[in-house]
Symmetry: C2
Subunit: 740 residues, 2 copies
Amino acid sequence: MASTSSLSLSNSLLARSVSHHRPGLCLSAASPLPTFSGLKSASSSSPAQIPIAALRRRFLQRQIRAAAIETLAPAETSLVDNSVNTIRFLAVDAVENANSGHPGLPMGCAPMGHVLYDEFIKFNPKNPYWFNRDRFVLSAGHGCMLQYALLHLAGYDSCKLEDLKSFRQWGSKTPGHPENFETPGVEVTTGPLGQGIANAVGLALAEKHLAARFNKPDCEIVDHYTYCILGDGCQMEGVAHEACSLAGHWGLGKLIALYDDNHISIDGDTEIAFTEDVSKRFEALGWHVIWVKNGNNGYDEIRAAIKEAKSVKDKPTMIKITTTIGYGSPNKSNSYAVHGSALGAKEVDATRKFLGWPHEPFHVPDDVKKHWSRHIPEGASLESEWNEKFAAYEQKYKEEADVLKSIITGELPAGWEKALPTYAPDSPGDATRVLSQQNINNLADVLPAFVGGSADLASSNLSLMKKFGNFQKNTPEERNIRFGVREHGMGAICNGIARHCPGMIPYCATFFVFTDYMRAAIRISALSQSRVIYVMTHDSIGLGEDGPTHQPIEHLASFRAMPNVLMLRPADGNETSGAYRVAILNKKRPSVLALSRQKVPLIAGTSIEGVEKGGYIVSDNSSDNKPDVILMGTGTELELAVEAAHELRKEGKAVRVVSLVSWELFGEQSAEYKESVLPEDVTARVSIEAASTFGWERMVGSKGKAIGIDSFGASAPAPVLYKELGITAQAVIAAAKELC
Amino acid sequence: MASTSSLSLSNSLLARSVSHHRPGLCLSAASPLPTFSGLKSASSSSPAQIPIAALRRRFLQRQIRAAAIETLAPAETSLVDNSVNTIRFLAVDAVENANSGHPGLPMGCAPMGHVLYDEFIKFNPKNPYWFNRDRFVLSAGHGCMLQYALLHLAGYDSCKLEDLKSFRQWGSKTPGHPENFETPGVEVTTGPLGQGIANAVGLALAEKHLAARFNKPDCEIVDHYTYCILGDGCQMEGVAHEACSLAGHWGLGKLIALYDDNHISIDGDTEIAFTEDVSKRFEALGWHVIWVKNGNNGYDEIRAAIKEAKSVKDKPTMIKITTTIGYGSPNKSNSYAVHGSALGAKEVDATRKFLGWPHEPFHVPDDVKKHWSRHIPEGASLESEWNEKFAAYEQKYKEEADVLKSIITGELPAGWEKALPTYAPDSPGDATRVLSQQNINNLADVLPAFVGGSADLASSNLSLMKKFGNFQKNTPEERNIRFGVREHGMGAICNGIARHCPGMIPYCATFFVFTDYMRAAIRISALSQSRVIYVMTHDSIGLGEDGPTHQPIEHLASFRAMPNVLMLRPADGNETSGAYRVAILNKKRPSVLALSRQKVPLIAGTSIEGVEKGGYIVSDNSSDNKPDVILMGTGTELELAVEAAHELRKEGKAVRVVSLVSWELFGEQSAEYKESVLPEDVTARVSIEAASTFGWERMVGSKGKAIGIDSFGASAPAPVLYKELGITAQAVIAAAKELC
């Protein structure tokens, strides 16, 4: 692609500014920074009272302090400067207009944003979903106006001028943090810090995997980069560290992270809480590390660094780019004051003066418009060239092309459901984690991009696909992912995989209780409408001796409360297959499968179809929809309800047993159907579940009884725990007898 | 203290084995390890079929592979060897007896465990709560039999032989993972990986803080170390990374972490997922790093490393100790097979033969018993010497001694509650986060060890204590803790602070939605009965434009379902003060305070006393406990219930308004009290809360209506969101009219 570059920095400065990080260099280079001495606040002097020349001097002093380089006078106006300032002011103006938002990051990152989108990222603005586009993630999601401004300049229909003007307003396409489901061109949903870089790891993993499987010596049909901008906040988050450790381990050479090193977070200078040597850490994680010291104007250095990063094929690259948050704001730059609030009219005015920007709000100069306008035809060309390439590929490699196409479109192979195991009534029972393993392995046969793994519990979660090896640096074509003990990173990486293209279906596994470690990622799955399958075994006190640290109690309730999650707790083989069916078919929501460590029998009356309704009658000896009592259960406790029903029926009672495998799906059924399962008039209802009773009033009503566990568990063999904690058929019988 | 050491390694080997880590050294030294080639499994040959000499050869081969050192033949039997083998076999036998547990870590870590407890850790076994003891945390909690065996040898009453024999059984003091509330001598509850090392950071922070405040040039009254054993699993967890980054930043010189580098996790060789350079990473985090290459027999090296670590005062130390998991088991050592299952009778037999251990299960040789028996008198002496020191300190520094005593005992200062702000009915309203700030600052005046901070949101959470500075490396006497953007680490560190001694009262703050990042730590607060106060602001869609990534929906429900947590959502000033009162007084449970970003008025009828009951009548114009309708709300929506009641009363209805600020506390009230607030006969009930309706059936009953939000929020100004999502007084009025 053609590019116009600022020539404001000499080549010799360039050579010094783009430096490979060596141990010690970072610290000594950073030492000109004054010692930290407390929270800085924005100057209390009003810009109106100070001549602009003085402001400029003060600003330059700030700059030097922040970026530790010698020349910082705004460069002679050039096209790139104009473009960069356009980005800055689109962000400033949109935040001002909304009187809400985060101007600081876009102002500081505009240069890297410009260089990335204008010169490096492959995209087609008129088809944001073109498969072979480069992926871009703004991990520091609060700076979303950077992304919206770039999408605007690049010609995306989602970010027209009126969209920027309705930034952060009800119904707009430009919400307060990037949301893939609102804004075509945004790949993933970010904002909660650290998630985005982990998503980027997942996106890069997907690319590496698909490239390894589908590329041919004569045709690289899968070939794109994943770029990510992250900030100091992301760097501090454990989830980012987990994912970056894996990215280094996997050698994700096409992952390029741009670290906006601005030394400011909400609490002030990062010196107050973040003094680790980030570059050295990333080297320890197996990354290639580059430091661009002048991220404010150093277009050439940024460009050179990205080029170098692209050339490093065996390692991901972290480009630390030292910038000034709120660059251009004379009184607020380089302070937390510019992070998350509108600048205010006066400071906007001062910033306009400082940056030599005489334009009205939301102005895009003609030369900038013209310059960027080439991306529409260029993007169309990129896609059509790739389409031609794909046509050639298809001719030569029909079978692979068909599979790849199905991954690109997400269309499920005809008849895939037949792979789900079914169980005759006389089948032997087993732990639902074992039955889950059968599903996973059968699905591995029919779903071409079903990939996943466990956070170091594969042998307990039973989550390995036996016919495949491990996805590793040198075996990226394989489909078992080894996440190590990194639950949070695992979830966030799976979100990235799921968002790569519609046919990628990631699953991930750990003990159910450890969803606590990854809950922020699961919530992003739900919010971003990403089909991640969470295979969560050891789902109750039934795990026994490991004790209360390992025994989930409140987790079922906690996910039933979370929007857009399917919480599934199958009772036996047929329900486990049903759970997988539902999980695969629900393309726009994640599923959490709670699975048992311990064996359960196959229960007469369970079915895949039943699971699809979420709640259904498993057995019944009543008539006219008027049982004496309804017994309900989920998972391993459905058996206890069945056993209790058996006893009660012996005593002449009309007893209905209902499985409530997924409350969400049951809630979505028609009123008639719900009434046919839980008739309003039948108030004698007993539920049993080895978990918190919280929420069960919805099912048992005010007169019913919920049997569960409202304290932590304990360390003992599972049968002892069930007895001691009162999760027994006898308890169900006793409760039922009190009610009918 | 006297010590007996194995002399099996020459001094020259010692010199090589205790080496300071330098960049590159770790990798090159590790290179003798064969390239990873997939999951290893235990040998399928039965030990019975193979002569013991061959087993020994095979074992030695495994050893060399794992530890990369030259001589590993079991040393000549010595007292230390005997002690170490006693620890190994107490673990092996207890796991065997329970047929459940984790023998691998205790077998590999017995040497470091022995050296630590026998030679370094200061403790008094007959008073596990002696204030100035060294703290020990087993972060790799699954290896708890190591700790129980050590506590047994050391003379703790919690781990008598019968306790070891009832390992992992119902009602025993030796649960499947270490639990401070079950086993005196265990400092914190571990098992969920990474938590323990973060707790250790909190413990070490508390020591550094108290030492800085109370030590005098002539009297170091607070002076102890924090030791922690962590494994590969802990090292992979993001929470550990977050906490260790802070430990380096804070220069916690008296924190000494022993990293059991055994290269095995549940999924096999760590090569499959964990190839980062851990030592280099810890150097980047500002730690002192030492590598002990022979952790299996190298007592001298371990000892030398700990001594060195103790001498490094300005940095925490990570001692990487290379060990063999399951050391001594001929067929299972150095494989995941020995991690989490009983060895089985045959392998136990082979292990006994290999290690030359002819004894019966649970045998403690007399010389070992005798050697360890000195810890009872020595421990008593340590404590009484310290008591004498304290008496002298008290004479000289009466005021400080009194304060320190109150921190040690946890006794609250008389009249502390008077510091809680109260509000007259005509007081102006404010955001509950602002009212929270008043509470925090008032409590800072009266509670001597009230410490805390925010995960980089201090200016949003309003969590700073204005009269104090920042706890930092060189200002550890200060009380504001700057956690950076590390929610999970923050929570786990606060657990450590809370467990240091009864008077340490930590609070920590972030946005409510980001409890998702730290949920695993909050659960440990609850389980371990630790009074941590979670100050969670921006508690609903009321935060406005930041959008759904930042708007909690399901979080209230998710904590109401979690055992032993107080979930408090105050509505105004009086309720906020009540929430703090309750949080401080509940010494054995954490409190989560959900606080608003937006302003709320002071509501007539709210009270601190009301909060203590969890639910109470705020206003009522009914008589005989028979209102026409009961309106309920929490937090910022109580105002809407009040407004609706006002309108309904104008129309002649008898309306009761109930605040349900804490469901847990309300649930603990007498049946009579509950009936007086929510009479069973009154089924016309409407609730309003800007959150998931999940669980509200408990309060509104089958006939009532719950107004809430069962989808994600959106990005828009708060008033727009309330209107668009139907959280309005009008909605309450309409629902009430349908019911009465």
